[in-house]
C-alpha cells in the first residue's frame, strides 16, 4: 500500500499535456518506469542481503563468483545465499512480473480495472487441481506444479467458453463490456464451486498433508529452488516475447473493435491470443508458487496510478515489487510476531489486496465497475 503513497508530488497538469506537449509526459512516464525498475533492484538486493541472515555486498559477490567458478565455498553462507535466498528472490521477481503482466493484459482487454486471473477464478482451477494431486495422489514438487498448470488452463477454457456467448469475439464497446461482466460472474460462480471441492478434499486428508496443502493454497515461496526457477524462466522466455508482440495490437484494440478492424487488426484472433497469453502467464506463475492472491489484480491499478498511464512494463515491475515486499514481510518480519511461523506470501498480499479492492469498488464511479 505504501507504493501508492510514495508517489512523487510532481504535478503533470494532465489537461495541458493532452493538447500541447506530449513529449515531457512521455519522458516522465519513462522516468517513473525507471524508478520502479530501480525499486525492484533495491528490494531484490534487500531480500538477499538483509533478513534473519545478513550478508554484506562484497561477501555476496564472493559467494556468487565462487559458486559460478566452482571455487572455495564459505560453509553455511554459500548454502543460504545460493540455495535459499537467491532462488527465492529470483522466483519472487518472476512470478510478480508474470502476475502483473497477466493482470495488466486482462484489465486492458476487458476494459475493466476489476478483471484479473485470481478474481476471475483461474487460480481456483489451479488450487483444486493441485490439492487433488497433493491429497489424492500424494504428489509433491513438480507434479503439483504440473497439476496446477493443467487445472488453471482447463478452468480458463471453461470460463471462456461460458462467458463467450455472442459478444466477446465480435461485439462493439458496450457489448464487449457485458461479456466482460459475464466473464467475471462466471469466474466467481465457478470459483465458489471449486472452493467447495478444495474444502472437501481437505477433510479427507491426513492433517499434515492438509497443512501442506494449506500452505500451497495460500501461495508460498518457501519451496523455491533453482529447478523451479529454471522451468519458470523457460516458460517466461516464450510468454514475454508474446506479450511484447501483442502490446501493439492491444493498444489499437483499446480504440474500439471497429476502429481496430479498420486499422487492419484481426480483432477476434488478437483477443484470443491475449487471453491465452494472459492465462499462460498466470498459470505458470501459479504452478511455480501457488496462487499468490491479488498481485495480478493490484499491479495494474497501482502501476496506472504511479505512471499515470496503463503500461504493461510498469505492471510487471509493480507486480515484482509487491511480491518481493510481501515475501520479505512474510519470511522475515512475520516470524518475529508469530513465534517463528513463516507465513505464505499470499497471506500478506491477500490481507492487503482485499481492502484495496474494496476501496476501488467504493470509489469507482464507472457504470459497471
Amino acid at each position: 500500500m505504501n507504493l501508492v503513497e510514495t508517489k512523487p508530488p510532481v504535478d503533470l497538469s494532465l489537461p495541458v499535456a493532452k493538447t500541447g506537449s506530449k513529449r515531457p509526459k512521455l519522458i516522465a512516464q519513462h522516468w517513473r518506469t525507471a524508478v520502479l525498475a530501480f525499486g525492484v533492484v533495491l528490494l531484490f538486493a534487500a531480500t538477499i542481503l538483509l533478513g534473519s541472515y545478513t550478508v554484506t555486498v562484497p561477501d555476496f559477490f564472493k559467494i556468487l563468483i565462487a559458486h559460478l567458478t566452482g571455487g572455495e565455498r564459505i560453509p553455511g553462507a554459500s548454502f543460504i545465499v545460493m540455495e535459499n535466498k537467491l532462488p527465492r528472490a529470483v522466483i519472487g521477481v518472476m512470478i510478480g512480473a508474470a502476475f502483473g503482466l497477466s493482470g495488466g493484459l486482462f484489465q486492458t482487454m476487458l476494459r475493466n480495472p476489476l478483471a484479473s486471473p485470481d478474481v476471475i477464478g483461474i487460480s481456483y482451477g489451479a488450487s483444486a487441481a493441485a490439492v487433488t494431486a497433493i491429497v489424492v495422489f500424494g504428489a509433491t514438487g513438480p507434479a503439483v506444479s504440473g497439476a496446477a498448470l493443467g487445472g488453471a488452463l482447463g478452468i480458463a477454457a471453461l470460463i471462456y467458453a461460458i462467458s463467450r456467448g455472442p459478444s466477446l469475439g465480435s461485439g462493439g464497446g458496450n457489448r464487449g463490456n457485458a461479456a466482460g461482466s459475464r466473464l467475471i460472474l462466471a469466474g466467481v460462480g465457478i470459483a465458489a464451486a471449486l472452493h467447495a471441492v478444495v474444502n472437501f478434499l481437505m477433510t479427507r486428508a491426513d492433517i499434515r498433508t492438509a497443512a501442506d496443502a494449506l500452505v500451497w493454497l495460500n501461495g508460498s515461496l518457501n519451496s523455491a529452488n533453482w529447478e523451479r526457477a529454471g522451468m519458470l524462466a523457460l516458460a517466461l522466455l516464450v510468454l514475454v516475447p508474446a506479450v511484447i508482440a501483442l502490446a501493439g495490437p492491444l493498444r489499437i484494440l483499446e480504440l474500439g473493435d471497429d476502429a481496430a478492424a479498420g486499422l487492419g487488426i484481426r480483432v477476434g484472433f488478437t483477443r484470443l491470443a491475449v487471453v491465452i497469453t494472459a492465462v499462460g502467464l498466470a498459470a505458470v506463475a501459479t504452478a511455480a508458487a501457488g496462487p499468490v492472491s491479488f498481485v495480478a489484480f493490484l499491479a495494474g491499478p497501482i502501476a496506472r496510478r504511479f505512471t499515470r498511464k496503463a503500461s504493461l512494463p510498469a505492471s510487471a515491475l509493480v507486480g515484482a515489487l509487491i511480491v518481493l515486499a510481501a515475501d520479505y514481510f512474510a519470511a522475515n518480519l512475520a516470524p518475529l510476531l508469530l513465534d517463528g511461523t513463516v507465513l505464505p506470501v499470499g497471506v500478506i498480499t491477500g490481507a492487503l489486496g482485499a481492502p484495496f479492492l474494496l476501496w476501488l469498488l467504493v470509489t469507482a464511479n464507472r457504470k459497471d465497475a
Binding site: I162, A196, T203, G350, G353, T363
Partner: protein, 368 residues
C-alpha cells in the same frame, strides 16, 4: 422479472388487436376472474412442493449407510422400541433431518429476500461474504478461546456472519449507482478473500485449529445433536416470521426506491427490517450447519420460473423447496461415497454451480 416488461411492447404491436391485450386483461371483470384461478394453481403447486418435501424427509430418515424400509421408519416414529437397532438409527437421523429442514428453509427464505431487497439476482449468503465472516469468527473462536464444540461455534459464526453481510452490503451500495450485481459479487469476493487470508494466518500457524476447523468448513447437517439444533430455533423462527411478512414490501421495492416511496413505503426502514430478518436467518443457518452455498441462490431462481415475480408466492415456495434441495443433497451425499459421506454443503455447491452458470448464460446475471 424482465420477461414481463419486455414482452409487453410486443403484445402492444400485435396487428390484430385494436386494444392492447394487456389492457383488456386488466378490465375489472377479467382480473377478478383470473385471480382466484391463479391463486388456486399456485396453491396446488405449493401443495405439490410440500409433498415433495415430505417424501424427501422420509427418504432422509430411511436412506443411509443402513437402509431401512418406510414401514420400519413409520414404526420407529409411532411405536419406538429402544431395543430395536433400526429404530435407534431412525432416531439418530431425526436431528439432522430437522436441521436440514430448518437450515434449508432459512437459506431459501434469506436468499429470496436478499435478492429482493438488493434487487439483485446474485445475492446469496455465500457470495455475500457471510460464509467467510462466519468462518473467520469460528477460527478465532477455536484459536483464541479454545472452543471445541459445535454448540460453541454457533455464537461466533452468528456474529461473524452478520458483520460480514452488513459490511459487504454497505460497501456495494456505496458509490454512484447502488448495489449492482457485479459490485455485490466483487465486494463479496474481495471481502471473502481478505477474511480468508486473515484466517490463513491463524491456520498456518496452528495445526490444531486447522484440524478442527476443516470439518466445520465444508458445511453439512450430519452429526448435529438436539443440543446444537435447538438453540438456533428461536432466531430462525423470528427471522422467518419477519421475512414471510415482507412479501408485499419486497414487491413494491422491486419497482425501484422512488416508486416504492410513492406507494407509501418507508424504504430505508423496510430495507433495514428485511436485512435484520436475513441476517437472523442465514447467520443462524450458517452457525448450525456450517457454510452451505448455493441453496439460497438457486432455489429462488427456480421458484421464480414457477411463480413469476410475486414475492408473496416466491417466499413460501422457497421456504418449502430449499429444504427439499438440502435434504436431497444430503441423502445423495450419504450414498455416493459409501461407507463415507459427502457433506451436504459440497453436494449443494456441485448441484448449484451448473445452475449459476446457466443463469449467467441466460444473461440475467448482468442485468436486472
Amino acid at each position: 422479472m424482465t420477461e414481463s416488461t419486455t414482452a409487453a411492447p410486443a403484445e402492444v404491436r400485435h396487428p390484430g388487436a385494436l386494444v392492447p391485450r394487456k389492457a383488456r386483461d386488466l378490465t375489472p371483470r377479467n382480473r377478478d376472474a383470473a385471480r382466484p384461478r391463479l391463486a388456486a394453481r399456485q396453491t396446488a403447486w405449493l401443495l405439490a412442493a410440500v409433498v415433495v418435501l415430505a417424501l424427501l424427509t422420509a427418504a432422509s430418515l430411511a436412506i443411509g449407510a443402513r437402509g431401512l424400509t418406510l414401514a420400519t421408519v413409520w414404526q420407529a416414529l409411532t411405536q419406538f422400541d429402544p431395543a430395536n437397532g433400526d429404530h435407534a438409527v431412525v432416531h439418530a437421523r431425526i436431528p439432522r433431518t430437522v436441521l436440514g429442514i430448518l437450515a434449508g428453509g432459512a437459506l431459501g427464505l434469506a436468499g429470496a429476500a436478499m435478492q429482493g431487497v438488493a434487487r439483485n439476482p446474485l445475492a446469496d449468503p455465500g457470495i455475500m461474504g457471510v460464509n467467510a465472516g462466519a468462518a473467520l469468527a469460528v477460527v478465532t473462536g477455536i484459536y483464541l478461546f479454545g472452543v471445541t464444540s459445535l454448540s460453541g461455534y454457533i455464537w461466533f459464526a452468528f456474529v461473524g456472519a452478520a458483520a460480514a453481510a452488513v459490511v459487504v452490503y454497505l460497501i456495494a451500495s456505496m458509490g454512484r449507482d447502488g448495489a449492482t450485481p457485479v459490485k455485490l459479487a466483487l465486494a463479496g469476493a474481495a471481502l471473502s478473500a481478505g477474511l480468508y487470508s486473515l484466517m490463513s494466518v491463524i491456520l498456518v500457524s496452528s495445526q490444531d485449529t486447522l484440524d478442527r476447523f476443516r470439518f466445520w468448513q465444508v458445511g453439512g447437517i450430519a452429526g448435529r445433536e438436539w443440543s446444537v439444533v435447538l438453540p438456533g430455533f428461536p432466531f430462525l423462527a423470528v427471522g422467518a416470521l419477519i421475512i414471510l411478512a415482507t412479501g408485499r414490501v419486497l414487491n413494491s421495492l422491486a419497482l425501484g426506491d422512488d416508486i416504492a416511496r410513492g406507494l407509501g413505503q418507508r424504504v430505508g426502514l423496510t430495507r433495514a427490517v428485511t436485512a435484520l430478518g436475513i441476517v437472523l436467518l442465514c447467520g443462524s443457518a450458517t452457525a448450525l450447519a456450517g457454510p452451505i452455498g448455493f441453496v439460497g441462490l438457486v432455489i429462488p431462481h427456480a421458484v421464480r420460473s414457477l411463480t413469476g415475480p410475486d414475492y408473496r408466492w416466491i417466499l413460501p415456495f422457497s421456504l418449502v423447496l430449499a429444504p427439499a434441495l438440502l435434504l436431497g443433497a444430503d441423502v445423495i451425499g450419504r450414498v455416493v461415497l459409501l461407507p463415507g459421506e459427502v457433506p451436504a454443503g459440497i453436494m449443494t455447491a456441485l448441484v448449484g454451480a451448473p445452475v449459476f452458470v446457466w443463469l449467467i448464460r441466460r444473461g440475467k446475471g448482468a442485468g436486472l
